[in-house]
């Protein structure tokens, strides 16, 4: 595939978005029956489900921590989620992303409230179109809230990028593949903390600063949607 035009003459992106514009975002919580908490999140073509089980007994027992809950986290892509079929066995990429997502969640969950238990977070990417880890992190955060697990704050994930020299918000797969940089962040907007940060690409210091600001601005929008989604859900629960 040849590199497409990423920034059109009118300054808009290949899908018509402005540089600082998010894709259409959808989210819902409580979509699964078995999980203690669950969420579905779409960032444009990226579609992700997260489920939370716990706090529950740790198995095998010797993994239990005496003073806090263990967090176990799996980020996984469905075999049909990508253009070429993905083998279902966990790739090195999935192992790394499971770690950075877990660490982001550790930063907000009050794990000390549930010693000797585990809180399990399972993320399945149903369709991958850029930003799967950040959409996954958003979904995981919603699922934890849906499970009623106390947290310092919600986390909104979003990726910024540099494409054809322009810093843009919420890059999709084409922009990731043909762009110059992809910088996913996880942002706890209420406490103003960055809980996930990676950069895959090349940026000057100034570009980095600009990208980070844009990412935070984007994450704040998503954070607001998350609050609304949870609010709506609670109202619904209360009215039932």
């Amino acid at each position: 595939m040849e590199k497409p035009i990423l920034i059109r003459e009118d300054g808009l992106r290949h899908d018509g978005r402005k540089p600082d514009e998010l894709r259409p975002i959808k989210m819902d919580v409580g979509i699964l029956k078995n999980a203690d908490g669950s969420a579905y999140v779409e960032y444009g073509g990226t579609k992700v489900i997260a489920a939370v089980y716990g706090p529950r007994e740790v198995y095998p027992r010797h993994l239990a921590l005496p003073d806090r809950a263990l967090i176990r986290c799996r980020y996984h892509m469905a075999s049909f989620s990508t253009s070429d079929r993905k083998s279902p066995a966990p790739s090195r990429r999935e192992i790394e992303l499971s770690k950075v997502i877990r660490e982001a969640l550790e930063a907000v969950v009050f794990t000390e409230l549930y010693p000797r238990t585990t809180i399990d977070v399972f993320i399945e990417v149903l369709q991958a179109d850029g930003g799967t880890r950040t959409a996954g992190l958003t979904a995981a955060s919603l699922a934890l809230a849906d499970a009623g697990i106390p947290m310092k704050d919600l986390i909104a994930g979003v990726a910024v990028g540099k494409i054809d020299g322009v810093i843009v918000l919420d890059i999709d797969e084409v922009e990731d593949e043909f762009g110059e940089a992809d910088m996913p962040i996880g942002y706890a907007a209420g406490i103003e903390e960055i809980v996930l940060l990676q950069l895959n690409g090349v940026l000057t210091r100034e570009e980095f600063n600009k990208a980070l600001e844009l990412a935070k601005r984007g994450a704040e929008q998503i954070y607001k949607l998350m609050k609304e989604t949870l609010h709506k859900k609670y109202l619904k629960v209360l009215s039932e």
Binding site: K33, Y40, S79, P88
Partner: protein, 285 residues
Amino acid sequence: MSLTPTRQPIIPKIKRETIKKLIKKGERIDGRKLDEYRPIEIILNPIPKAEGSAWVKLGNTIVMTGIKLEVGTPYSDRPNEGVLQVHAEFVPLASPTFEPGPPDENAIETARVIDRSLREPRAIRLEDLAIIPGRKVWLVFNDIYLIDYDGNTIDAGMLSSMLALNLAKIPKIVSIEDDNVIIDKTVKESPLPINLNVVTVTVGLLDEIPLVDPLLEEELVIDNKITIAFDEKGRITGIQKAGMKGIRTSVLDEVIDIAFKKANELHELLRKVLSNPENYMKTLI
């Protein structure tokens, strides 16, 4: 190695008794009749990146099947045919008892029963899927993801597979040079060639009382499950008995009668959905 199941969802003894008592009265905990399927919700092609996909909600059991088509090598004993591969993943978000890892015997059984039931009546025209005969053919990956688990994964998995296969489109072949086949997945051309539809019906047995489409809680108390596949001509295209008790012939007869009746309903549903697929092309939420 197969082991007597030990790590199962726990179901309190009192509930177990309730379920049994109801069934013996011809009733069920969710209010269904013994020969009644749970409500079925269908979303077609929710995953445009897959060559075909279908989301099926059977009561609270949710299954998503995605079809991927890749270029590959044929089996040496069938050099001029495409290759069908059915996989089932019971991912841990679907149930508190599932662990991450390679498919266990239950996921493998689900995939293999669906695979055989499709393969034997030649539901897919694999002979039309050769690209360079003897060398390069289409590989059809039928990947079944169990997303929420409340029993009867085979029937839900078969329905979503059959729908996804019917919707699947073959990517464009851009060029063929020597054995090098270049395809363009962004352009989908002809549909995957389907000969006929197949459905499975799973019937549980408790003290020789048959019950259709068992819930997970029912699966934990019943003696057996019998899955029977029927094609749209009414032929039996696969059977699988599961469960740790024996069955008498007369009971088996009764089970097949019921299954045949329910299979007709499911075929009717398939026809309805596939004659107006656009009605089912909704978003997931």
